[in-house]
Symmetry: C2
Subunit: 80 residues, 2 copies
């Protein structure tokens, strides 16, 4: 099974990396109002069907991949 997990800083949470990228884009001449930087995690793993895959991914996120206090998570099954 293949899944893509997007981990982003929640709204209102400080994102210094996004601010730095936004500042650099502005210096390069782009009219950028906001930039937020998170992580994309592609996982290949063994699962018994999509339900088991989703349950495993939920545990992976809570155990390791994301900090639910400050990050939001989007999971897509079966994508590159």
């Amino acid at each position: 099974m293949r899944a893509t997990v997007l981990v982003r800083p929640k709204d209102g949470i400080l994102d210094p990396q996004g601010e730095a990228v936004g500042g650099s884009l502005r210096k390069l001449g782009f009219d950028v109002s906001q930039v937020r930087v998170g992580r994309v995690i592609d996982v290949e793993f063994t699962a018994d069907g999509p339900d088991d895959a989703r349950a495993q991914l939920e545990r992976m996120c809570s155990d390791l991949l994301a900090n639910p206090l400050i990050e939001s998570v989007d999971v897509t099954l079966g994508e590159d």
Copy 2:
């Protein structure tokens, strides 16, 4: 205009962060065969329609957001 840019290490390029995450997931008991870690960058910017937006995003990627030698880029317009 809002866009989401996914920047991933290309196939065959070493990804130490992905290997570390994969190793940790295995230690936690998950049957993971591969993990790759990249960046998700959400950008809000001014553009004259989707064509201009795509042209600007291409320049943002080549100028700052990605290293085309070792990273691949997926751009989605108008998504959160």
